[in-house]
């Protein structure tokens, strides 16, 4: 198949969209394999290849992230850019490819952005404090299966940043809420539950993410389908976090 790619190129403070035409593409190719093909061509011609983040290419590491025709990770539901295949496009399509656009995610080069703000949110409280060696037997505390399932569903977040890119406010609340929910519904996570919500949200706000106004754009864009209810849960915990005294 034949496609025209309109790709964001940026090597300084400003960037621009550049058109590239590609022919003889296979519908079985992944979107990133198509970028590989383009880059091989650019390198051979002595041009600068397109920089983009990627690693596992199986939808789990969270490193890839592209706005494809204005949609985070492209048109397929619950699919990262690396797992998107060309069979979902039509021969002759023009496809716009841009980096995540959000103030806390500055562009490093072309399609590569800096997402270290997410790490800082986790560092602010997205954990259970348990030094190696200090754990009781794994069966000491049974966890009701529905709670374990809720925790797992939230823990599936891959930290890609699609929720931020899709949000009109550039909010990272789905990411933050996923971690608060994962740890907050488990018995092991109770001692730090409310301070965790408070501290993570404080770091989220300090990093320049926007507030959540329930626009609801994040969940449909999330490759792991993290539900919006996590944000409601976070808000409830946040209220407690601000009203109780806690040493952490």
């Amino acid at each position: 198949m034949k496609l025209t790619l309109r790709i964001w190129r940026q090597s300084s403070a400003t960037g621009r969209l550049v058109d590239y035409e590609l022919e003889d593409l296979s519908p079985d190719m992944s979107f990133l394999e198509m970028l590989d093909v383009l880059n091989e061509r650019l390198i051979t011609a002595g041009d600068d290849p397109v920089a983009f983040d990627h690693d596992c290419r199986e939808g789990i590491c969270g490193m890839c992230g592209l706005m494809i025709n204005g949609m985070a990770h492209g048109p397929e539901k619950a699919t990262t850019a690396c797992q998107l295949h060309l069979r979902h496009f039509k021969d002759g399509d023009v496809i716009t490819v841009e980096p995540w656009r959000a103030e806390p995610f500055p562009v490093v080069r072309d399609l590569v952005v800096d997402r270290s703000a997410f790490d800082r949110i986790v560092a602010a409280g997205g954990y259970i404090s348990v030094p190696a060696g200090s754990a009781p037997d794994a069966h000491a505390t049974p966890v009701p299966k529905p709670d374990a399932d809720t925790a797992f569903e939230a823990a599936a977040c891959i930290g890609c940043g699609a929720c931020v890119a899709a949000c009109p406010n550039g909010s990272g609340m789905l990411f933050t809420a996923a971690k608060a929910t994962h740890l907050g519904v488990l018995p092991q996570g109770q001692p730090e539950r409310y301070s965790r919500a408070r501290d993570m949200v404080a770091e989220h706000d300090a990093s320049g993410f926007g507030g959540c106004t329930n626009a609801g754009e994040c969940t449909p864009a999330c490759p792991k389908g993290i539900p919006l209810t996590t944000i409601a849960r976070l808000n409830a915990d946040l209220l407690r976090g601000h009203t109780i005294r806690s040493d952490r």
Binding site: S30, R57, E58, C61, T79, H85, V112, A123, A148, L183
Partner: protein, 639 residues
């Protein structure tokens, strides 16, 4: 005398305790010196890599009070490739009351490794396995649970007990996030200094001790040094030497290969694992292979058409024209035989274009589609996304792919390499899996090394620290820095006419054909002729665009592929010298009349530890003899 290498003096593990195997780890922990808590803040450790081993080690060493610097090439420590492990993690908890024990996990692992691993190390791994599950549950890892609230387990390739703990098909992700969160907590506490998007390009050795690393900041391109009292490499495996593998695109051998060039012995490089259940190659554009957890073999049945030329769609092939070859060849283990056996059987019966079928129709009839979805839903979705086929309706097509490397830097019982102060943990070392790794054991080893083994013994070395301060003006440091900068400049200066990718593809194909699932002398000799030619061509014709002073992903790739060229040669030399078949290493010349691997314990019951002597120069072989006191070597039989 062989023409490819020379043989040096034997090597022995000086730190392995003797006496009853059950108490060796206790005795070693007791004999290892400790560092007083007040002194730990004056001892520093560099940890390279943030997967299960590196993330857990950095977090734990930080928690103990050491000054830690952690490095990863990805944009965040949460992305290391441990995250992609699907199936699960073994532990000898015996929660199922099905006859499991520490001794049985130990026995299974030694046997599964085809008697090419150390009993002491493997026993320790089995002992620690139970603590790992406790630790991870306390961290909030959301393992699958039963309705009573207790942990669920399943059985996994090669095991007859149900000892594998799992979190749907995302066990690696959940365990890694646990380690990552512990690491972030230490970063916030100021005990770990994190350097993401930073790649180690060389090891700094001063007066015979590992004292630091040279890194390149992948965003600014700046090459700089970092110093510490000890260096820990947790940089994973080298499966990407085959170009196509299930590893992440960035996985590479550079850290361990550079350490090898600085004097660390490299053990059993030819021991690579090929995973039977991956999605077949769809075309020349293929950039990586995707694994489907082997837990699928618990309920899926593997078959090929009886007629190899059958072109009908799988659902149109009647039952009596299908060959369920694993069930036929290995009646007692059936579809659950270990990976090496399943992979070779699949390769011998089909080819990479046609693949073989993995069929769930019986399981769906027996359990219902809902139960199958609960067990494998995310794997089925992934398969459908990649291939466009629905596995609930059509059997999956699978084919083997390179997945894991059992070889790695040689380490003793303390996980210390042959360079004092250099420790190697996780997949990057060679220690626990022998010639073949059992399913759900990689996560176990990574976390055992990171949370428990390394923190338990590294004090024995750090008790002698702090060592004499060094800086960039020290001749050994200045030389290393200038070598790294020179190499970057050279790669950019070649400005040839072939892309890095085209070289990597050609090297990978050669390795897959000649040093892949089956190896023979003629093929290995052919590879040993071709690799140096291709390597020379690489340095004359490679084209790396741009400059070194900015984000340059082609430059990163070029450095990694350059090191793969050197490693590839050592892998072939190792595979050639080991004229027996064992585990994942199958020499065509050494097989039983039934076509199974024929081990040669009289001549090859040793670890092959290789010493570097120069690019293209014959390496020196040092043998570490293996003794089996608790598990009698037997022919591995799964029929």
């Amino acid at each position: 005398m062989p023409d490819t290498h020379t043989e040096g003096s034997p090597i022995a593990d000086q730190r392995a305790p003797d006496g009853p195997i059950e108490s060796r780890w206790d005795r070693r922990r007791f004999s290892a010196r400790l560092v007083n808590p007040a002194n730990r803040r004056n001892r520093s450790v560099i940890v390279v890599g943030t997967g299960l081993a590196g993330g857990a080690a950095a977090a734990t060493l930080g928690e103990l009070g050491y000054q830690v610097k952690s490095f990863c090439y990805q944009d965040s420590p949460r992305r290391a490739h441990s995250i992609a492990a699907q199936g699960g993690i073994n532990a000898a908890k015996n929660y199922r009351n099905d006859g499991d024990s520490v001794h049985r996990l130990f026995y299974d692992t030694v046997k599964g490794g085809d008697f090419r691993s150390r009993e002491s190390n493997v026993h320790r791994l089995a002992q620690i396995s139970v603590e790992i599950i406790d630790q991870c549950v306390a961290q909030g890892v959301p393992f699958a649970r039963e309705y009573g609230g207790l942990l669920d387990t399943r059985s996994f390739g090669g095991a007859q007990v149900s000892r594998t703990f799992y979190a749907r098909g995302q066990t690696g992700q959940q365990l890694l996030l646990g380690a990552y969160q512990a690491l972030e907590r230490q970063i916030a506490a100021g005990r770990v200094e994190m350097h993401a998007r930073t790649e180690m390009l060389d090891l700094i050795v001063v007066d015979g001790r590992a004292r630091g690393i040279v890194v390149r900041d992948l965003v600014t391109g700046a090459v700089s040094s970092h110093f510490a009292d000890a260096v820990v490499l947790a940089t994973g495996g080298y499966g990407n030497v085959f170009h196509l593998s299930t590893n992440a695109k960035g996985c590479n051998t550079t850290a361990i290969w550079r350490a090898h060039r600085r004097g660390a012995l490299f053990a059993n490089p030819c021991f690579t694992q090929i995973h039977p259940t991956c999605i077949p190659i769809s075309g020349d554009h293929q950039s990586k292979l995707t694994l489907m957890s082997e837990s699928l073999r618990n309920d899926g049945r593997v078959w090929v058409p009886r007629d190899a030329h059958d072109t009908r769609a799988p659902n149109d092939i009647p039952e009596d024209e299908r060959d369920y070859f694993l069930e036929r060849m290995y009646p007692s283990f059936g579809n659950l035989v270990p990976r090496d056996i399943a992979s070779r059987a699949a390769k011998n019966i089909s080819d990479e274009k046609r693949g073989v079928y993995l069929d769930f129709s019986d399981a769906i009839k027996r359990l219902g589609a809902l139960a199958v979805e609960q067990r494998y839903g995310n794997l089925f979705e992934m398969y459908q996304r990649i291939t466009g086929d629905d596995p609930y309706k059509t059997p999956m097509r699978i084919y083997p792919a390179v997945h894991y490397t059992m070889g790695g830097l040689w380490v003793d019982y303390d996980l210390r390499s042959t360079i004092p102060g250099l420790y190697v943990i996780g997949e990057a070392n060679f220690s626990d899996h022998g010639a073949n790794r059992l399913g759900a054991s990689a996560l176990m080893q990574g976390l055992a090394d990171g949370y428990f083994v390394l923190p338990g013994v590294i004090g024995d070395y750090l008790a002698d620290a702090p060592f004499e301060a060094v800086d960039d003006s020290h001749p050994a440091v200045a030389d290393t820095l200038s070598e790294v900068r020179g190499r970057v400049t050279t790669l950019l200066a070649v400005n040839g006419d072939r892309t890095v990718e085209s070289f990597h593809r050609e090297l990978g194909r050669l390795m897959w054909d000649e040093c892949g699932m089956e190896r023979d002398e003629a093929g290995l000799r052919k590879a040993l002729e071709r690799i140096p030619e291709l390597r020379a061509e690489f340095w004359q014709r490679v084209k790396v665009p741009g400059t070194g002073e900015r984000l340059n992903q082609e430059l990163e790739k070029a450095g990694r592929v350059a090191d793969f060229f050197e490693l590839a040669e050592l892998m072939c030399i190792d595979a050639l010298h080991r004229a027996e078949s064992c585990g994942g290493h199958f020499r065509t010349e050494s097989q039983t009349p039934d076509g199974e691997a024929l081990r040669d314990d009289a001549n090859y019951a040793y670890v092959a530890a290789w010493e570097y002597t120069g690019v293209g120069q014959p390496p020196v072989l040092h043998k570490e003899e293996l003794a089996f006191e608790h598990v009698t070597p037997s022919t591995r039989s799964y029929s």
